[in-house]
């Protein structure tokens, strides 16, 4: 055969992937599978819950729209934070991170407030009917993930207050950590569409 020594290439791999990035991508992939189970289940039960409180009468858009805007814009602010960090502008980094955390907190508190209203005024609990079961499980799991993401961001924030974050050394790590936050955001878009738009049909219609 010709070209005997064509490719005994032993040089280093061209652009080695960063294991942190791959790990985070895997985590996000896995969480997507987890959420898709709940999303599909929610979809399955839309319109199959004739008794008890109905989505159309329970869910109101005002508050949840404010919450959504906060959460979605926090994705932008966290990008700004990472960019500042990459530039070495620690002040701007802390500022944008703080804004992100506040927006995230608003979302959690807003969700809590909404739930309180649902339980107290509308009498919708996880036991009420299939709608309640699915609503609280799906939205609850999402909120839990927001909570975890917030803990992560707050941790970074505290470290930066103590001057433990070094732009050169750590900006990659912080960047990867914020991927999680973006993921939580994307999941919310799906949840919102499913629960507040698609799901607000009169229950029992399809049953």
């Amino acid at each position: 055969m010709t070209a005997l020594n064509a490719n005994p290439s032993t040089g280093p791999l061209k652009a080695p992937l960063s294991r942190a990035k791959v790990g985070m991508a895997c985590l996000i992939f896995m969480e997507s599978a987890f959420f898709s189970a709940f999303l599909v289940t929610y979809l399955y039960y839309i319109g199959k819950s004739p008794d008890g409180p109905q989505p159309l009468e329970c869910l109101e858009l005002n508050l949840v729209l404010i919450n959504s805007v906060c959460l979605l814009s926090s994705s932008v602010t966290v990008v700004l934070a990472v960019r500042s960090l990459a530039r070495g502008a620690m002040g701007a980094f802390r500022l944008w991170l703080a804004v992100t955390i506040l927006l995230g907190l608003e979302f959690l508190l807003g969700t809590g407030y909404e739930w309180w209203g649902l339980i107290e005024d509308k009498g919708l609990t996880i036991q009420s009917n299939a709608f309640g079961t699915n609503f609280y499980s799906l939205v609850g799991f999402h909120a839990f993930h927001v909570f975890v993401g917030l803990v992560l961001l707050i941790g970074v924030f505290i470290l930066s207050l103590f001057g433990c974050i070094n732009p050169k050394r750590d900006h990659q790590r912080v960047d990867v950590a914020t991927w999680y936050w973006h993921f939580v955001d994307v999941v919310w878009i799906l949840v919102f569409t499913l629960v507040y738009i698609v799901g607000r049909v009169p229950q029992g219609a399809a049953a």
Binding site: M1, P12, L13, P16, C164, N166, R169
Partner: protein, 289 residues
């Protein structure tokens, strides 16, 4: 190339050096390995207790959460700001363990034994056509001689995929039916092509006598399987079938197909040959009958 025995020790060392070192860019621990640490097991213990609390007592969960928290914080400090690794001095490990030396073995083991020659895949298609025709002739013979209708075997073949055939009366089975005919032709063509390809791939693997294997043994085995299972899978169909004729048609297919394939000129297999080449499409003209 020089044989290994002719190489001096120094040459060998130089060669090894060329094969070995050069740390890649992102190898995380150059000559360092992570230090043992108790935090992961503590965190795992805590997580388990959080869940165990759900079936025992909430206090268990609280304890678990505390453990998990401590574990996670400890773990974090293990990797931040710098990963906690134990450096292994290179000189040391070289002293402990000699680097692997592989005595070059003048072994004469075959790297890769595959059928050195195969039939071009194209001949499988030809064989399929030949087999399909031969089989159709035999089947038609059965229809005309035994059943007095050319359409009978065709309709029965359609019955392998169309449930409605199973409900038809004998009269209907003897008559021409456009849909059934089209179905039967499609089934016949697909199956023939598939079997032709199986033949062309497997015949070079068969010990010496392709005609025996492909023309006799395979049809007999196949007829046996069909005979044994059809009465369970599709009893209605089974009651119409004449097994001697069935076997005959299978043998006709096998012989015709195997004959065509066996007569094709074999192609030599070569590692590194292009795909078209291996498919038998890149032959010079007149290479193949």
């Amino acid at each position: 190339m020089t044989t290994p025995e002719e190489k001096t020790k120094a040459e060998q060392l130089a060669e090894r050096a060329e094969l070995a070192p050069r740390e890649p860019l992102e190898m995380p621990y150059l000559r360092a390995i992570p230090q043992p640490t108790p935090w992961p097991i503590l965190a795992a213990f805590g997580v388990t207790f959080i869940f165990a609390g759900l079936v025992t007592n909430w206090v268990v969960s609280v304890v678990g959460a505390a453990f998990a928290l401590v574990g996670i914080i400890g773990w974090f400090r293990e990797v931040f700001p710098h990963e906690n690794v134990e450096a292994i001095p290179v000189a040391d490990c070289e002293a402990v363990l000699p680097p692997p030396v592989f005595e070059p073995r003048p072994a004469k083991s075959p790297r890769n034994v595959v059928p050195e020659e195969i039939h071009p895949y194209r001949s499988g298609l030809k064989g399929a056509v030949a087999g399909a025709v031969a089989m159709a002739v035999v089947a038609a013979g059965w229809g005309l001689i035994d059943e007095g209708s050319l359409w009978m075997p065709i309709n029965l073949l359609a019955g392998t995929v169309l449930p409605s055939v199973g409900e038809a009366t004998l009269e209907q089975l003897r008559l021409f039916n456009g849909v059934w005919f089209a179905t039967a032709v499609a089934v016949h063509v697909c199956l023939s092509l598939a079997v032709g390809m199986v033949f062309v791939v497997s015949l070079p693997m068969m010990p010496r006598r392709p005609l025996l294997a492909g023309g006799l043994i395979a049809p007999i085995i196949w007829t046996g399987i069909a005979w044994a299972t059809l009465r369970v899978v599709n009893p209605t169909l089974e009651q119409y079938i004449s097994w001697p004729w069935f076997l005959g048609s299978q043998i006709a297919f096998g012989l015709a197909c195997a004959m065509v394939i066996a007569r094709s000129t074999k192609v030599r297999l070569h590692i590194g040959r292009s795909f078209e080449d291996r498919m038998g499409f890149e032959q010079t003209e007149g290479d193949e009958s």
